[in-house]
Amino acid sequence: MRTRREFLALSAGAVAATALGPRRADAAPKAMTIVRESSFIKAFDDYFAKTLLPEYEKLTGIKMSYEAVSVGGMLTRLTTIVETKSGPEVAMTAINWPHLFDAGLVDLTDVATEIGKKLGPWHDNVLDAVVVNKRWKALPWGNIGQLEAYRTDWFAEVGVKKFPDTWEDLLAAGRLLKKKGHPFGFELGHGFGDNHGWLYPLLWSYGGREVDKDGKTVLIDSPETAKAVDFCRKFYQETMLEDVLGWTDVNNNKAYLGEQISCTNNASSILVVAKRDFPEIAKVTDHGMNPQGPKGRYHIINAVSHAVVNHADVAASKAFLRWLYDDKQMSRWLASGDAYYAPFLTAYDNHPMWNSEPRYLPYKESLKTSRLHGWPGPAGHALAESVAKYVLVDMFAKACRGDSTKDVIATAASQLKQIYKAK
């Protein structure tokens, strides 16, 4: 038998449930906004905004809007969304942003697990980028890989028929090509992708590391780093234009399509644009994996992912992501992207999207050897600071302009010690 107090509590609960319950259950939001950085592949953005979102709107009655942020501006936009707790509910993330915005993002472990069971498993190496304290803070969509785009005709002219497999072989080819008036152009300036895209892999492939797994032990001051720096200086001086030291991400694309350089590290956008606007260049362009160094071959992970911000209607946002990451939608959207995004779900390893253009296949292959910036260090705030301060890029750039290996490594080590608060 219930006491009077229990009865009152139960009654109050029942009244509250009657009042709030049905309303809560039916309280699907009237509208939702998804914000993403605009893609280099216009058809990919268009397919999302003009086909997928209207389909979901028709299905659920929720008014779906798409906000496109200009390239390079997504991090700032995400900062304002999370800080002001207003604006779009679902947002694109990249690099290690789920770690930066951890407290402002919803836990998506349940959705990620479901998707992983259906279409996975997920590629292991993406976990560093999106799983924070064992919780999935974003659903990986695809990797924007960074590989070498090169001119097959000019390489053939100097007797190189296949893209060089090691950094030393690439240097040898570059020497010959520069003499022929076809220098290389690898970004060494303050861009946001094409610099880290080859400099981290170069460091790793010589055995160098910025910081250890513990995030406390700075490892940059090592003979391996010195070898990587010495190689980079030689590579720059003997194969490249001086301008690369000041390049940002647009410059190498312009220089390649302007036929000023014979090889650069980039996403597949160079070939995509060439096929559209410069078909003659497209015919003689191919992709090569990052060459290997004495300690292996590496690539960079830039996992474009989707996160739900705290102020969103969590149930509705998750429902949308479940729908979006269903093969019926995902397959079509990926296909519209011209293989620009390499998915992290194993079900798509042999998807027809890879068949239309074999020259994109190295981007899929590169996933196996891809690591997040700062690897093997933790993917938190310190990593973001190191990337934002261009510690690694400037270490290599200063060596290329003539500073001594010892000095540039000492400067980088002191910056990293300050950033990682190491002794």
Binding site: T79, W247, V250, N251, A384, A388, K389, A397
Partner: protein, 308 residues
Amino acid sequence: MAVRPASLARPVAGRPFTLQGVLEREGVFSWLMLSPGVLFLLAFIAYPFFYGIFLSLEDRRVATPGVFVGFANFQTLLGDAVFWQITRNTFVYVAATTVLKLAGGLAMALVMNQSFRGRNLARAFLLLPFIVPTALSTVAWMWILDPTFSVVNWLLVNLGVVAKGYSFLGNATLAMGSLIVVNTWRGMPFYGITLLAGLQTITPDLYEAAAIDGATTAQRFRYVTLPIIKPVLIIVTMFSVIFTFGDFQLIYALTHGGPANATHVFSTWAFDIGMSAGQLGMGAAVALAILPALAVLIVALTIYLRRE
């Protein structure tokens, strides 16, 4: 026991206490007119400024609550070699552009003050760099300075001046020099037009009198023109220095602080640390590091204006 004056004890006979009456009082009315401006300043200048100071005293990571750390952010900055490099860059950038803009702007104003055919059209054209949005004109400069497609390099090579084009943005010294040129190009019309306004207040009688006394052109400039436009000259320089200290778009778009931090200034570095690294507290501290220099300028400006 205090005795209140009779006039305050009750309303004056014949002047009832009405809203119109209150509004007609000078003190009330003037504040009413000032209030939109004051509210605007409070909301968009004072609040962000004080919030910036507050942030700079916190270890405030994006999406997380801040922890008060006192002056720890500033201490970290003082021990950071890059901070000193950026301080040096900022001062070089501001000093060089100010001298060039001042000299160029004064020359521009003196020419525009002469009578010649098409003067009004020339004045309108000279304002163009100032009117065109910076982001837009910077794109044009990106092409002009692009080593591969640079029209300057093309001209130099084709005229036989140099055998190989310059790397305007790849070489540390040239990159800073290029930014100084672009900033000067954009900022000179501001000096030119403001100084022209100052020149036009000079009555021709003074020049005639000086000419009768046998003053040469240089003497007329030195003893008539310069003393009269001095106040305008100082104010326009002060404003320009303040704006240039906070210059962001141009540098961010052209070099993003590269190569190897050679062109990073306070504003671009503060943005990278605050936004890209998600360290809002440290970013605010970097931005506020300009404050002492600006404060000296503002105080000097205020003292000068009061004296005048």
